[in-house]
Symmetry: C2
């Protein structure tokens, strides 16, 4: 294992110290590294909190700030944060309009956010993200996994909360965005979890994992390494087969898992865009980059969200976080 | 070699097609993929053009836009663009105040930009970046290499040009920023150039290349894999030993080479910041991410720029490009 670290036990705390020092205009750190919170809270706004295992950076701390999250709770690598962390975050950022938890659908996360909600003194609600079409149940999840589409939910909900939507409206919107969102991923290499020290899974030089999860967990099947264009076709086919309709406009997020260079991500974006267009889906909004990663895993995912005027407007709304910034 | 590509010969063109499609609000593409240019030019502004081999994305095309570059010329991977490309870009973006080329100090780039300047009909000037303290001459360069500090030069010059500085003032400022800037890099793994198909260099499981170049070219020496904190100490020592003064404020850019996750880059930022502070350098501005990459190489570089009020103000000025955005 070759990593820029000191001690496996201090990776998260040192990295968080660096993160808040680098982005001190946007975020501050909770006591004992329990959470990263927005520096300046907006009174009376629904507080949006997400979190999950570390190793997916910039998700979630990179999305804390104006127009997106109020707090993010980082667990150990690929391990859910504790209810105690989530409750402390809620206490810190609830300004009277209640707390909405945005939770990726993994059993540990779901359970711990439920316990946190029980600890809360004020009103809470939850949006569960389940955008991964690869498999119906998986290593850590019952039901579909929440993956890169979580970014889209966080962005659109962030805009709505910023604009004054109440807790019930935010929850309903979050469910609606999640329903409009589908993802599929492919891995060329495994990630290596520092505490394990060896790759999570073995994969041959001429193999890919189609439908891989963001923890390197198995997807649909192990397939032969394909060129980008037929791979893009298969990814798009997996997504569109799952949609009732493939007309209209959509947002396309091409997300790198951490080990794949931008030159390949933009090439995949080009090929995916063509494949979606052939099926009648026009790409009206785009995002390309490493946003929901799996440590050093090579590969990428495609996420689409079917847009209507409201969702497009929420996507376009100003955002100012460490990892996403526009119109401010 | 495991890469998301179709054909080695079409990687650049397909990736550029994706890039301009994803960022059509900011850039357009020149004929025959010769250059990426700013969509909306500002009349009478000095035109800033950079370029170089591909494989360092988002450098340079990712820095085309308001407050930074007017055009970027992408060569083949790790290969200089041609004078023809640079001349075509100059013709497209010169709005009457002349053209300033920002050139990383590699022999091919220097020669080709010189030839492009000879082809130009209007006034031209050049800023050469030479920020890498690792070695005095290298595989592709006579004199110090230009590496991640090029981003800082492009950002500050971009702000000055946007604010109306003329060609001579821009050139002088560019030289001043380059003089105030130092970088050092370290690689944990090699990159793999698609046309070669195998890693550029061999490196053992417990080795690092200290002072590596952004093409995977040799640095100062091959050393044993170190923990992040002693590594940060050695990187900072290499930089500060090269400075006349280590008091005052500086910008710290922690740049990933492509294969290292953000969690490690922020950890390195934390450790580097401590090491600079011990030597009297306070970090007043920060940037952490994959900006000047070497395809899929694991590792990172540290860049500092000594700031005065003018340089800090130019760094803070609005920028709107694919890869850097703030205050607009």
């Amino acid at each position: 294992m070759k990593k820029l670290i000191n001690d496996v036990d201090t990776i998260i705390s040192e990295s968080l110290d660096g993160f808040v020092a680098a982005h001190g205009d946007i975020v501050t750190l909770g006591a004992d590294h329990k959470f990263v919170r927005r520096k300046t809270l907006k009174q009376g706004k629904v507080a949006l909190i997400s979190g999950g295992g570390s190793g997916h950076e910039p998700l979630h701390a990179g999305f804390v700030g104006h127009g997106m999250l109020d707090a993010a709770c980082p667990g150990q690598i690929f391990t859910s944060p504790t209810p105690d962390q989530m409750a402390a975050a809620a206490l810190a950022v609830d300004t009277g309009a209640g707390v909405l938890y945005i939770v990726k659908n993994y059993e540990g996360d779901v359970m711990n956010f439920e316990m946190a909600a029980e600890l809360a003194s004020g009103p809470t609600a939850r949006v569960l993200t389940t955008d991964d079409v690869a498999v119906e149940t998986s290593t850590y999840s019952t039901g579909r996994r929440g993956v890169a589409g979580t970014l889209v939910v966080e962005k659109m909900l962030g805009a709505a909360a910023e604009q004054g939507s109440d807790l019930a409206a935010c929850r309903a919107l979050g469910d609606r965005v999640n329903q409009a969102t589908r993802s599929i991923g492919v891995a060329l290499t495994s990630c290596t979890v520092p505490a394990a020290g060896t790759p999570t899974f073995k994969i041959g030089d001429s193999e890919m994992e189609f439908g891989v999860g963001i923890h390197g967990e198995p997807g649909r099947r192990r397939v032969a390494l394909a060129a980008a264009r037929p791979l893009a076709e298969e990814m798009v086919e997996s997504i569109t087969r799952d949609l009732e309709s493939t007309t209209g406009e959509c947002l396309l997020l091409v997300n790198g898992f951490g080990g794949t260079p931008m030159i390949e991500l933009y090439l995949m974006y080009d090929n995916l865009r063509d494949a979606f267009a052939k099926r009648g889906l026009a790409i009206a909004r785009s995002l390309v980059g490493n946003f929901v990663t799996s440590l050093d895993m090579a590969g990428c995912s495609a996420t689409i969200t079917l847009l209507d005027d409201e969702l497009a407007r929420l996507w376009d709304a100003p955002v100012h976080t460490a990892a996403l910034r526009w119109r401010m």
